[in-house]
Structure formats: C-alpha cells, structure tokens
C-alpha cells in the first residue's frame, strides 16, 4: 500500500508532469485562459492517461517483449486511436459535453504528457495496478497545474501589467514561480 501511495503522491506533486518534467506544456500555455475549460481538459486528459496506461501495460506484456524497437510506433498509434475512440464515445453519449470540449479533445493526441506517461511507466517497469495509480496521479497533477495557472491568469487579466510582458512571457514567469513552489514538495517523502 505504501508503494502505491508513494507513486501517487510522487506523480501528483513531487514530480508533477507539467512543472518538473515539462510535459504537456502546449495545452498548459495554450488552454489555461479560463478555469472552466482547463478543468474540463484536465479531466479528459486524465481519462486518456488511464486508458493509455492500461493499453501500454497490455502491449508491453504481450506484444512488445518480442519487438522492443516497435514500442514508440505502437504507443503513438494506440494513443491516437484511443483519443479518436473517446471522441466518438462522448459524441454518442453526451453531445453537449462533446460541443463543450471542442477542439481540445483531438489535440490530446499531441500532448506529450500522455506519451511521456507510457514511456516513464515502461522504463520504471510498473505493473498493472502501479501503472493505473501512476496515471491517476499524473492526470490529477496535470489538472492541478492547469487549474492553478488558469486561476492566476484570470487574476492577472484584471491587473495593470506592462504591455511588453503580457502574453506568453508572463505566463512562463508565472509558471516558473509555480514550479519553484512545487519544488518545496521535494522533501515530502524520504526515498529511502
């Protein structure tokens, strides 16, 4: 149990995907202009991560042991088809949610956090349950970072900042400060 807790907290806070591994920066910087959209995108990403973790485990255990050099191609194809499948599923089950998600849904394919999750889980040799816990932690961590930045950006819209720094430059500096704050979690668990 301890092991699962450690994997979860590590992926969620200590090694947050966005703020310490720099994964999934494109949606992080692109979509984080409103709290609501970023929360939705975060949830969708978490779901894709969970499915990917299961698929990656299946592929690794049954197929890729015979051909490790095909790993990357298999993973990316699996992720692309998962996203496509989820898109169709949501469209069928809840058209309202589908319209609300809009373009962000297909864009999850090129989110490197998902591919990164599959690769990290493989490199560390996680088993089935460990992989799922890892995906959950990473997904919630991604959502957390996205929502935090979105909240800060919504606040900064109202304040008086110099014209030069507006836009990506300011977002990056905000993200840097957030990242510093997350470094404080580094001592949360002793690795020994």
């Amino acid at each position: 149990m301890d092991n699962f807790l450690w994997i979860f907290v590590s992926a969620l806070l200590v090694n947050n995907f966005v703020l310490t591994y720099f994964l999934g920066l494109c949606p992080f910087l692109g979509v984080s202009n409103s709290l609501e959209t970023s929360a939705r995108l975060g949830l969708a990403t978490t779901f894709v991560m969970l499915v990917t973790a299961v698929c990656a485990w299946l592929l690794n255990t049954y197929i890729l042991v015979h051909a490790p050099y095909l790993r990357l191609i298999c993973f990316i194809v699996v992720i692309a088809s998962t996203v496509q499948f989820i898109e169709m599923l949501i469209k069928k089950l809840s058209p309202a949610l589908f319209r609300a998600m809009g373009i962000f849904l297909p864009l999850i394919t090129t989110n490197c956090a998902i591919l990164g999750l599959a690769i990290f889980a493989t490199n560390r040799g996680y088993g089935f349950w460990q992989g799922i816990v890892y995906a959950l932690g990473a997904g919630i961590g991604f959502t957390l970072a996205l929502v935090l930045l979105a909240g800060l950006r919504e606040e900064s819209e109202l304040s008086d900042v110099p014209k030069l720094i507006k836009g990506t430059a300011m977002n990056l500096i905000i993200a840097g400060i957030l990242s510093m704050a997350f470094m404080g979690f580094a001592g949360l668990f002793s690795t020994t």
Binding site: L19, C26, L29, I76, T109, C112, I114, I165, G176
Partner: protein
Amino acid sequence: MKKNPSREELLKGIWRDNPVFVQVLGMCPMLAVTNSAINAVAMGMATFFVLVGSSFLVSTFRHLIPKQVRISCFIIIIATFVTIADYTLLALVPGVHKELGAFIPLIVANCLILGRQEAFASRYPTKLAVMDAIGMASGFVLALLSLGSVREILGDGALFGIKLFGENFEPWVIMILPPGGFLTLGVILLFFNWFKSKKDEFLEEVAAAQRSES
C-alpha cells in the same frame, strides 16, 4: 530585388518565424533538456534529423497520402525517424542518451514537427519542404543552444562542461532546476517582445518621415 524562394524558406525559420521564440512551438523538449549546452546540442541534432527526414518523406509522398488519414501517416513517419535517432544516439553517445532519457522518444509528440508537416511539407514540392525543414530545425537548434548556454553558465558557471569562472563563483542552482527553464525562456521572450516593439516604432517613424516628405 528578385527573391530566391528556397533561400527565403530557409531563412524565415531561423529568425523571423523562429519556431520557439516567435511561434512558441515545441516547448516541452525545449525546457526539459536545456539544463546544459551539450544536452541541448544532442537534442537539437536529433530533432534536426527527424524534422528534415520526415519533411522530405511527407513532401515526396504528398500526393499518395489520403487526406482523411494524413495525421496518422505523418505520425508514423515521424515515429520511424525518431526510433532511428533514438537507437543511433544510444550507439554513438550512450552517456548523453542516458541523460536525455525519455525525452528522445518524446520528439514524436513535438508539435513543431507535426505542425511543419501539416502546414508546409504536405503542400509544397520536396525541395522547398526540405529547405523549410532545415530552416525551422536550425531555428530550433539555435533556440535550444541559447537557452542551454544561459542556463549552464548561470547555474553551473560552465559552458559545454568547461568551467568559465574561478573558484569563487557561486552557482545559481535554480537555473539548472526546472523553474530556471521557465524563467529563462520567459525573459528571452520578453526580450523578443521588446525588440519587436522597437522595430515597429522604428518602422512607424520611417513611414511618418516619408509621409511628411511627400
């Protein structure tokens, strides 16, 4: 002056449309591996190879790839080149490969590469596409190298592993840690904004002067 189209495509990626500083694409590898100049160069070379190779293939086969499944085709082509780059780096420079770790396979998800295939290589003839890819990739390498050097000099007092300052240099450790990446890139983008606004001001002045003359 008559403009040479392929030279145009080559040059625009390096400065005017620099993929990182102007278009803000391909950020993930950009920030993750630039904690030292040598890592930045290795990453830049790998990306260069993948971008030029896949642009060449995509542009050569652009009439054969069906419109509906083009994205999947591009991704498979890119993934193939990334696998080649991954194994080549592993054979040639195992140390650097180990340090870059998972970020080499992650080149697949670099939006800069897919973006170039979609926006340029799939629409233009092979020669122009390769020129465009070389330009964009050089711009990317340039950005990686500048960010990597700044972070290594400030955070470690060294460049390419060679110590630049004496014993008394107190390294600014945060620069090689994750927050340093965000902060450095933020400041560089700030500089680019400043440069652009100066240029706009200058152009406006020139235009005003021309108006008053005529």
